[in-house]
């Protein structure tokens, strides 16, 4: 009987990371800007995305969406009303999307025909943070109905985000939303992040958000 130590020094999610790196190359080659939208359940990712897709369509941009959900295809049906190509990814209980699911659901889509691809992750602020989907921009969303300290409670997610979106600002007043505290907390966890204050209902903040998308897409050149 021999006991020995075998050094592995490898990432536990190496397979996902490798697949994500492959996806990232494909996105870059195709010239499509890919965004991964993450938030708690109920933040309003779908409403925000629905509005974004409609406005992009009105601008003549070509956008598509992949929507993660534990069981239903309700969100995909809602988003499809925008006229954009939408595919549902049912994770059947798995709390996050991973690169393999994305790869599988992209089959048959010509990425080069797209300007933007949005991936709406499963509503969860913990698990999706570990899984790279090859996205260029990770967007963490937070609604005014949630606590202003959410970034402090979920630092991993907010720290790994490239942009933050505050949703439902049309009801900030009745919710006693402390805007200063929210902005401060986001910045404490992710210094220098771009923050968009939006309402999918009134359209507030959408112009700034769309300008950012265009800017980021132009960078890919």
């Amino acid at each position: 009987m021999t006991t020995r130590i075998v050094e592995l020094r490898r990432g536990i999610l190496k397979k996902n990371d490798e697949l994500a790196a492959g996806l990232r190359d494909r996105y870059t080659t195709a010239g499509v800007l890919v965004l991964n939208l993450v938030s708690s359940p109920g933040t309003g990712k779908t409403a925000f995305l629905e509005r974004t897709l409609k406005e992009l369509k009105a601008q003549g941009a070509r956008a598509a969406a992949l929507v993660g959900d534990l069981e239903t295809d309700n969100d995909a049906r809602r988003l499809a009303s925008s006229g954009a190509p939408v595919r549902q990814i049912n994770t059947h209980g798995i709390c996050h999307l991973d690169a393999e699911m994305i790869s599988k659901h992209l089959e048959g889509w010509e990425l080069a025909d797209l300007d933007y691809l949005f991936i709406e992750n499963v509503g969860n602020l913990v698990c999706p943070s570990s899984y790279d989907l090859g996205e260029k921009i990770r967007v963490a969303l937070l609604s005014v109905t949630e606590g202003e300290d959410k970034p402090l409670k979920y630092p991993t997610m907010f720290n790994s985000a490239d942009a933050a979106v505050i949703t439902k600002i049309d009801i900030a007043g009745p919710c006693d939303f402390d805007r200063t505290a929210a902005l401060k907390n986001i910045n404490e966890i992710r210094p220098g992040i771009r923050i968009f204050e939006t309402s999918a209902k009134t359209g507030a903040g959408m112009d700034e958000w769309l300008a950012y998308l265009a800017e980021e897409r132009a960078k890919r050149g």
Binding site: M1, T2, T3, R4, I5, V6, E7, L8, R9, R10, G11, I12, L13, K14, K15, N16, I94, C95, H96, D98, V126, C127, S129, S130, Y131, L152, P155, T156, M157, N159, S160, N187, E188, I189, R190, P191, G192
Partner: protein, 121 residues
Amino acid sequence: MHELSIVASIVDSVTESLAPYPGARVKEVRLKVGALASVVQESLDFCYGIGTEGTALEGSKLVVEVLPVVLHCEPCGRDVTLDGVQSFRCPICGEPSMDLRQGRELDIDSIEIEDEAEVKA
């Protein structure tokens, strides 16, 4: 609760690495997990027992070393270690920094195995 997925990945990686050691039994699996890896130790331990059942890892011990967040502080010109993950500022000068040098790891560092066969040096 993605700890079960993480355990499944650990089982795959470790099983793969056992190829040169046929019949080996895993005694210990050592992880290095960054403070920002969003892994809950209790949950990981619980899932480890379930996820390793019927594999070469069954009955092995899981040892987790947590690595604190290390930032590079530009004004100070050096790497600084954070006490927690509530503020990404240099603890010395207070300057915010997103230049992370450590803290997102989710790695298998090493495994301790027991070979059935007598190995001669």
